[in-house]
Symmetry: C2
Subunit: 422 residues, 2 copies
């Protein structure tokens, strides 16, 4: 094996280099190697933003084209920060966007160290004065409701310190749950809070990490307040879509344009290459006062998927928690034989919310007799709210000193589009 | 109130009539009145296939334009049947397609009587020799797994009697669960079995009942074997899409084009006005032998929706049944803290299947460490199979005298598109 260390010579991380190998030639910025990378692999960031790994062979040569100027003191701060540019905070929570491939096994792990994220994306420093902080490092399937509160609290602190906007980098699996939670928890928000993730890690040629992060930084520097999710809009690298935090859903396991706004169009688009931020509707910036984390999260809420096999015992099991959200069939139905069990749950004081597993459209308890029976039993119909958003909202509503039904029916953060709350 | 009976005079159900009222004039076929209809409402089927209800007023007049010829003996058979045309069986199970609006409350109920369905759609008799049978009458949210077996058994009997194909009219809420069940239960199928529903009852001007049913009859008369769902393809009335029974999902609460093929394109289209049936891929008709209902349904399967609030107790509750299907996050993940509880369930002999709540795309247990841990715990990854289809398939697999994992991984009725079963 030809060791990376032997080849690199004077070349340092951050330098622009050319690697020649057989008849191939690769130009790019020399990237740091992860501690799990194989010893014979050199990682380069290409001009298009993608990273590649080049395996060192006997005939491989490396040439420094341009030394990095961006470094001041190697260990302390490796990228030149322009303090005249808008200050943007980047809060890392883990996920593919800050993950690396373990070459030994091919599996992807969350990054363990701090500002690798910034360092892998030097263009960010050309657009803003970034403040990077790794709050925690979890793949998003491991994020639990109390993490939402941790993120919300830190966002409030950071915004109070005077930043222009906050980017929260996050794993994609549960990013929409977190964006919904922040939409309810962050009260009096007058600045942008932008969640961003990537579907493919930055070690892969098709990674979306770099462009998504640039787009998120641009949006965080805009004057559009609110909690948003920014992700690739199509298979191309042209633009990213801006989704409302309460209306977005991951609709594909692996595509880069997996995130979709449900029951409304994306609010706008960011063109990361030009920095342009464009919104469908101009929204007057409401200068809200009294930013605070309002309420908390009571994680004891069940999300129940209605289906022909559901039993009364399933209902009772779900009802052991403090609240139940049903992803009903069609307009918000379930087997009418189960309504008595549901009624028992409600009579014990547990709120039950009805949404639709169709995802698109709105529930309606008036069209069919099954819907009317559910309403009579006390089930709260949640219009076109997504099942996941309804679950998060109920977790939040349970911690407020207000009537749960009233809170659930109020349109607090754009979670109702059609406003058909009946 | 001006009573319908007083106005009708010689006009009989089935006649083409013109109703004049104030400055309006309506032409259409006089329809039977449901027993819950108000006494002053006359129902007309317009030329475009939609039904309207006209309220009788003092100035309302009715004129018979053309007496119905189609009636032989009123009580016995009201539509002339041409026995030279292909014999198509229509099996009613209830739902909006065979429902009526209770004018008193505005709510929709399933039709209680038999061949109202055929009688409301006289064009069917111009295209085939229809045999209509109401197997049962349920809104589809009330359909339970044992109903799937009842339908399958009756379809086998009917096909053995020598019909060209079977149309199963069904409520839309759980139609895709039933289509998946029939796809597994009907073994050796060499004729078309077509499920059809409607999103809006035939009493509403925007009803899709009529065209969907015509399209279903056309498909049932074709030589395309297999279990399919036929529903409106777009908001227009031009064509209906043909979906594979295992890949279809109701993706909107109310739109007429709510049904979508997930992870594959519709298999084909039916143009109900011309009768044309067109498939994307020509499929050689496999003359399968030995039609039978294979296996049964063990309804004791949980469908668990992974989310950040899920607890070990939720896993244990789900594991009380004979099988568990998880709608995981992303590529098929859940909180890694829950894997030990899942492992206990699996070690007790309960199969656990992983699908994705993204719906689009395919699960993959190799990309992230969470996936690998789940696989090591014995979770069976189900490729791009829909969560609902996986639930139905597991209910079926549990009744077979074969290894459940082997059955779940085999592509039996097109439930795997990508075939990435790992």
């Amino acid at each position: 094996m030809v060791l990376r260390e032997e080849l690199l010579g004077d070349a340092e991380v951050g330098d622009k280099v050319r690697i020649k190998k057989e008849s191939q030639s690769y130009e790019g910025i020399l990237m740091p190697s992860h501690r799990f990378s194989k010893k014979d692999v050199i990682t380069l960031k290409l001009k298009n933003g993608y990273n590649i790994g080049v395996v060192c062979e006997e005939d491989t040569g490396i040439e420094v084209i341009k030394k990095s100027k961006k470094r001041t003191e190697k260990k302390e701060r490796r990228i030149e920060i322009d303090e005249d540019k808008p200050k943007i905070s980047i809060l890392g929570t883990g996920g593919t966007i800050a993950s690396y491939v373990e070459y030994r096994t091919g599996a992807v792990h969350p990054a363990q160290t701090a500002d690798d994220l910034l360092y892998s994306n030097p263009e960010i420093a050309e657009r803003c004065e970034p403040e990077v902080e790794i709050l925690f490092s979890k793949l998003s399937e491991d994020i639990v409701p109390k993490d939402w509160v941790t993120i919300a609290d830190r966002v409030v602190e950071i915004l109070e310190e005077g930043t222009r906007g906050v980017v929260v980098s996050h794993g994609t699996d549960t990013m929409s749950y977190t964006s919904a939670a922040l939409s309810f928890l962050l009260h009096g928000l007058s600045k942008p809070v932008v969640l961003v993730g990537s579907q493919r890690s930055s070690d892969r040629p098709s990674s979306d990490a770099h462009l998504n992060l640039l787009a998120a930084v641009e949006l965080a520097g805009s004057d559009r307040p609110g909690v948003h999710v920014v992700m690739h809009d199509s298979m191309s690298d042209e633009r990213c879509a801006v989704h409302r935090g309460t209306k977005v859903r991951k609709m594909h396991t692996s595509r880069r344009d997996a995130f979709e706004s449900i029951n409304e169009r994306p609010l706008g688009y960011v063109y990361p290459n030009t920095g342009e931020v464009e919104f469908e509707e101009e929204k007057k910036v409401e200068v809200k006062k009294g930013l605070e984390r309002k309420g908390g999260i009571d994680e004891r809420v069940s999300l129940l998927y209605a289906n022909p096999g559901l039993t009364q015992e399933d209902i009772r099991d779900a009802g052991k928690k403090e609240g139940v959200v049903i992803a009903g069939t069609g307009l918000g139905h379930m087997n009418t034989n189960l309504i008595p069990a549901l009624k028992e749950v409600i009579e014990e004081g547990t709120p039950v919310i009805m949404t639709s597993q169709c995802l698109y459209g709105t529930v309606n308890g008036h069209v069919y007799s099954a819907g009317r029976e559910l309403k009579e039993a006390g089930v709260i119909f949640a219009g076109d709210m997504l099942p996941e958003t309804a679950m998060v909202k109920l977790m939040w509503a349970l911690t407020l000193d207000e009537e749960v039904e009233k809170v659930m029916k109020e349109n607090i953060s754009g979670e109702y589009t059609c406003r058909r709350v009946r």
